[in-house]
């Protein structure tokens, strides 16, 4: 075993430089990839490097970024949440139903809709977390069940039809581009990411999320209840699904029981490309934002290059697999640097 010698890690590089190298390998890698992809498409794809296109990309990544922010918490604890797409669908119909209630003034209706979305998402998230920890069932299975249940519930609530007629002020806010460059819904996504970043980096709760994902048994034997943090992560994922549902309503102005199909996979892809480890304990939510950007830049860029809709998923799929392969190498590199 490696626990042999009395000679201890005389680090191959000085601590300060090691820190910088670690930053480069762990955090800057994805960012560099995003920059390279962007430069590539700017040079090759017509219209890519225009402000109009940039705005479009910002608008398009908002929903996925919000979902992926919550997903990051779950994956950091070592779980997975497959239900966020259909929980989003359920939340859009719940939110839209509340919002079109004519007995309420638009302001109150919008606020209530937001609360209803977040509450619905939180309840779904709680059930995911509670069931999987209480009966020790892999979250993959539990959230697969929730994916179906929430999709069904969305049809029941909406009577299987789309809900339209949202308040005009709400629709206007969704179309708002602040200062001519910052779409309102992208701002929401950035705020969610910022909140997640703050929690993960600066709070005791965030530290515990990482610790639980690293070794939940050690956390338990250190005098904590790891299940609490796992359930909390699922509730956060549910909450962000609720917020993402509001973003969906802002962007598309309809509540739809068939919204969000496949969104969970995009969210997971953003998290993984962003460098968060599927086995938990390692990763960053800033990486998740970058991962979401990479996915959308690729998708838009390929489209502008004239790559057909049939080939696009093949390229994106390859990129996801490549990201995970690179991640394995990154771990090796990090070990050498430490």
């Amino acid at each position: 075993m490696s626990e042999t010698s009395q000679v201890t890690a005389s680090a191959p590089v000085s601590p300060g430089r090691a820190k910088f190298l670690r930053f480069l390998v762990r955090d800057a890698g994805v960012l560099l990839a995003l920059v390279l992809i962007t430069v590539f498409f700017s040079a090759t794809a017509p219209y890519f490097a225009t402000s109009g296109n940039a705005l479009k990309i910002f608008v398009q990544i908002a929903i996925n970024t919000v979902l992926a922010a919550g997903m990051t918490f779950v994956i950091l604890t070592g779980g997975i949440d497959l239900s966020v797409g259909s929980v989003l669908a359920l939340c859009t119909v719940v939110g839209a139903t509340v919002m079109i209630d004519e007995s309420l003034s638009p302001g109150v209706a919008i606020l209530l809709a937001l609360l209803a979305c977040m509450a619905t998402g939180a309840v779904c998230g709680f059930l995911n977390g509670w069931i999987s920890t209480r009966w020790k069932i892999p979250s993959f299975i539990v959230t697969l069940g929730m994916l179906n249940m929430a999709a069904g519930a969305a049809r029941v609530v909406s009577d299987n039809s789309t809900i339209t007629g949202l308040p005009q002020s709400f629709v206007d806010f969704g179309n708002l581009i602040i200062g001519g460059f910052l779409p309102s819904i992208f701002l929401i996504a950035v705020l969610v990411i910022a909140a997640g970043w703050f929690v993960l980096r600066f709070t005791v709760f965030g530290r515990m999320i990482f610790a639980v994902g690293t070794n939940d048994e050690a956390v338990r034997l250190s005098g904590h209840n790891p299940d609490f943090y796992k359930i909390a992560a699922f509730i956060i994922s549910g909450l962000t699904a609720g917020i993402a549902a509001m973003v969906y309503l802002l962007r598309l102005n309809i509540g739809s029981p068939i919204a969000g199909v496949g969104y969970e996979l995009n969210a997971i892809a953003a998290v993984i490309i962003g460098g968060t480890s599927l086995s938990g304990g390692k990763g960053s939510i800033i990486g998740t934002l970058v991962g979401a950007c990479i996915l959308q830049v690729l998708s838009t860029g390929l489209q502008l290059l004239g790559v057909g809709d049939n080939f696009k998923p093949i390229v994106i799929g390859l990129v996801i697999v490549l990201a995970v392969i690179l991640d394995a190498y990154r771990e090796k590199l990090l070990k050498v640097i430490r």
Partner: protein
Amino acid sequence: MDAILSLEGVGKIFPGAVALSEVSLSIARGETHIILGENGAGKSTLIKLLAGIYQPDSGSIAFNGQPYRPKTPHDAQLSGIRIVHQELNLLPYLSIAENLMLENLPRRAFGIVDGKALNSRAVALLNEVGLDIDPRTRVEALGVAQMQLVEIAKALSNDSKLLVLDEPTATLTPPEIERLFAIIKRLKAKGVTIIYISHRLHEVFEIGDRVTVLRNGKLVATRDLQGLTVPDLVRMMIGRDIADEYGFDASIVPGTVALSVANLKRSTETPAISFAVRHGEILGVAGLVGSGRTEAMRALFGADPKLDGVVEIDGKPVAIAAPKDAVRHGLSLLTEDRKGQGLLLDMAVDKNITITDLGKVSRNGLLNRRAEAAAANDLVGQLRVKASSIEQAVRNLSGGNQQKVVLAKWLFRGTSTLILDEPTRGVDIGARREIYQLLWMLAAAKKGIIMVSSDLPELMGMCHRIIVFSKNKIVGDVPRAAFDQEHILSLAYQEYVRP
């Protein structure tokens, strides 16, 4: 000498640790060669090199006169070297026969498994190791000793030239050990070369021809066993006599009872046990692996469920349903499995230390990184943890330093009674001494200390009192004045040898 296996200047380096350096060794054809060494001396690394799990960083290995460079365990098997690892590698839900023949299942047309041939061949192999059991039995239904024998039978299934046994007796009872030795002798008579790794010194004389001792990754010596004594081997293993290693502090007098456990019952099958530890006392817990020592400590700590029992701290009964209750009442548990249960391996030293009480380095749920770093640096300095910085991942620390981090995390929390399960396993000698010193410091500070260990000399050197487990029962409570290795060992075996 006709060498079947020879190593020339073999070395293996891990990040931050030299696991093996310049090891040169010849194994003669047909001999039983013992390899001795403390935990962390490099025995496991050596085996993993032979098994193709690791590749050497320097030097060369020759097997049967040919260069031997296995890239995978499969390569090693093909060349005729079979290894029975300490951790058994059987597939629990398959039958014994399927496990035995897994690499070469007898087949009929269309790749259908030939059940008849499978079972008859399995019976033949089981006979070789003296195991009379239906080969269709699923492995999960077997006891550890039987699994061990199945592993050996499996190793024999491919007509191996060289059999490596890694601490095969660690979990066996004396009658089972006797049977294993009979099998080893029979194999030797058939001309099989055997490398036998152990740290049980007494048993190696019965089966070994020659012995090689490793220490800190280096080869100390290779000798004929004939003419050597146990103290000789000890001296070779640790480099000096052991008398002064523990530093028993006679000035510390145990005070009032810190923790008492009455009628602790883990399950309907296990007997109720009671014991107590005083403030300032180091209480030893002896017993064989699997005798219920670890399980009792885990149940006491709330890590595993218990049926019944009263735990009192300073005379007051406390309810412990989960580890968090135990921790709240000032108990600490250093687990036997340091990496799996004690540490957040991929997280930094400071984060491992503060995990027991983040409230101390935070306000309103917000971490104060500066206070955290200060507290961690403080403990790292106090315990002399050798790390490049508190931001180093504990994965890359040596065993001894990892153990110090576990101790540091409990010191950070503040504790009244520490339960230490195998605190020096896999810890090098230097760090081991420092851990002993730390325990004396804690005892002087009136902490109660419960020390579970398989290393009897260690318990006899460190403890005021030793309680002995045998088959889940506490069969003895031996005061320091009456310490005697033979006596304690016979107590530990007591419940197993009785008919």
